[in-house]
Symmetry: C2
Subunit: 333 residues, 2 copies
């Protein structure tokens, strides 16, 4: 299947543009997917023959999202989103300012009809299993029960498209399994999710509440929560993994003997490490905008970019936006 190019924000991310461009070149070669680099041509270095869409401005990693997108109309992020809107690209990928990526996508691509709020779907690694899709991972600090039901619909479509799960187990993040546990938002959402009408053609099954300790297990395929709680959970998990890995590597490197011993262990530990490495998860997806928008980690290297571009391609080929459109369509349509 031939697809339009993937628009890559060459200027976004802690390691931009060098690692971003390197990843884009590798992706175009290894995945045979066309890539459109968006950014300042004279800062990109050797682009390996990739097409470049010129954009003169760069939204900084810590810039205010709303005002940046409003004022910096020639920024790489805004131009990348416009390329999707205008049919010049099939998807956008950025490792830049997350808020500005969301705002660019939302303002330029618009929402899928019927979507109340887009949400960030982030894969949580499950060693030896399929990642758990957590949403909303930070797009909406405040949510209504109805939005969370739509997140459940969109998350189920995403889990199906990305991981091939035919009947995704959807759960609600709470502080106990009982439907009586949680805050008012969770209790009200639980009631709505317990009715099966929302599942539509998604194949989803609501399995009830789960707790934070279930995120890195196969308990659920999709876990729904508000963007505040989701972001806290995601960052807590990232922090825990980072602390453990740093301390483990320190222990492995303590002496000549431990270095030799860790070399023996590496064949057993390597696959685990690879599964937990954010570089390999392929990035999060902004669900609900009218186009494919992949949000990669700010620290993305070229490897992370290859994986993010692969996910973007898969989502385009799998027509995930069309499936989302059907899943959220109000019954009266």
């Amino acid at each position: 299947m031939t697809i339009l190019p993937i628009a890559v924000d060459a200027m976004g991310g802690d390691k931009a543009p060098a690692e971003i461009v390197a990843g884009a070149i590798r992706a175009s070669q290894e995945l045979e997917v066309p890539v459109l680099l968006v950014g300042r041509p004279d800062e990109l270095g050797d682009t390996g023959g990739l097409e470049v869409l010129e954009a003169s401005e760069v939204i900084a990693m810590d810039a205010d999202p709303a005002s940046s997108v409003r004022t910096m109309k020639d920024s790489s992020l805004v131009r990348a989103a416009e390329a999707v809107r205008d049919g010049r690209a099939s998807a956008m990928v950025s490792a830049g300012n997350t808020g500005a990526t969301m705002a660019s996508a939302l303002l330029r691509m618009g929402r899928i009809k019927g979507v109340q709020r887009p949400a960030i779907a982030t894969p949580i690694p499950v060693p030896g299993g399929t990642p758990t899709v957590l949403l909303d991972a930070g797009a909406n600090a405040e949510c209504s029960p109805e939005w969370l039901v739509q997140f459940a619909q969109m998350g189920a479509v995403f889990a199906r498209s990305r991981y091939g799960i035919e009947a995704p187990k959807v759960a609600l993040l709470s502080i106990g399994e009982e439907s009586s546990k949680g805050n008012p938002l969770v209790k009200e959402t639980h009631k709505l999710l317990a009715e099966t009408a929302w599942t539509g053609g998604t194949g989803a099954r609501f399995i009830g509440n789960v707790e934070g300790r279930d995120l890195m297990t196969d308990e659920a395929d999709v876990v729904v929560t508000d963007g505040f709680t989701g972001n806290v959970a995601l960052k807590t998990l990232e922090g825990a993994l980072r602390t453990i890995v740093a301390n483990l590597l320190g222990a492995f490197d303590a002496s000549e003997e431990t270095r030799a011993a860790s070399a023996v262990l590496w064949p057993a530990l390597g696959p685990l490490y690879a599964q937990l490495d954010p570089e390999n998860t392929g990035g999060a997806m902004l669900l609900g905008v009218d186009g494919v928008c992949i949000i990669s980690h700010g620290s993305s290297s070229s490897v992370a970019m290859v994986n993010a571009i692969r996910v973007a391609r898969d989502m385009v080929v799998g027509e995930v936006v069309e499936h989302l459109r059907v899943a959220v369509r109000p019954a009266e349509d």
Copy 2:
């Protein structure tokens, strides 16, 4: 200093009563602290000469807290709380039903004057550093900004009493460092904490917002949040640690070679493992009730009980309840 006995709920916890009694006996010997076992005398086995307070009922781990405490007046949890109220014990410790432990303590001991809501303060391990005190870790699913300010006061007193931190760094859990980030509760609380009047004599300093990834670091000594978010963060962290440790141990045990290699690494890894083991954290404390109430993990072994009883003793000797009373006293008193 001679103190009244620590009342230990002998019937609470997944491994009760055997491990609880074993831990109580060890604590009384090793710490030279008097222990009062509360439960069914004929189920406790050899109590090593410890005093027993008879209680005929047991609140199950999954029982409804409020109704259990209301109807089971002769339960070990209710009797333990009454022992503190009646001046027969200086503190209570339980590894049983957390909700019922809170309800027993609240209903029998009452609140410290001025406290709006008690909160659970849970130590989060920081490898190589002092644990971060997280509160509320689950007592109040819904909170007001004013309650969170009081949690900050109480958390600072606790960090000082338990870890000897003279000027605790207090932070607010959010989804970005900027005061504009977060949900309405966080934004409003940020404003209140930014005023310094609340710190009173606690020595606390408000350092602003932190994110989930800062919990296992030395960034803050006390992190304040509502009980829903706090419980999700805590469970997420526990789940991540459990998944990693299980997978590591599996890798270490993969073959003869890896077992030999892991034996070489153990001197370097052991201290890390010990710091992360919930058995060693000594349990959480319910802050704001008029007495010392230590909540130990449901899976507590005798080792965890020894540590929990040690913390209970330290909190009694350090007169933490008196310090809390001063910290939350309204200015007009």
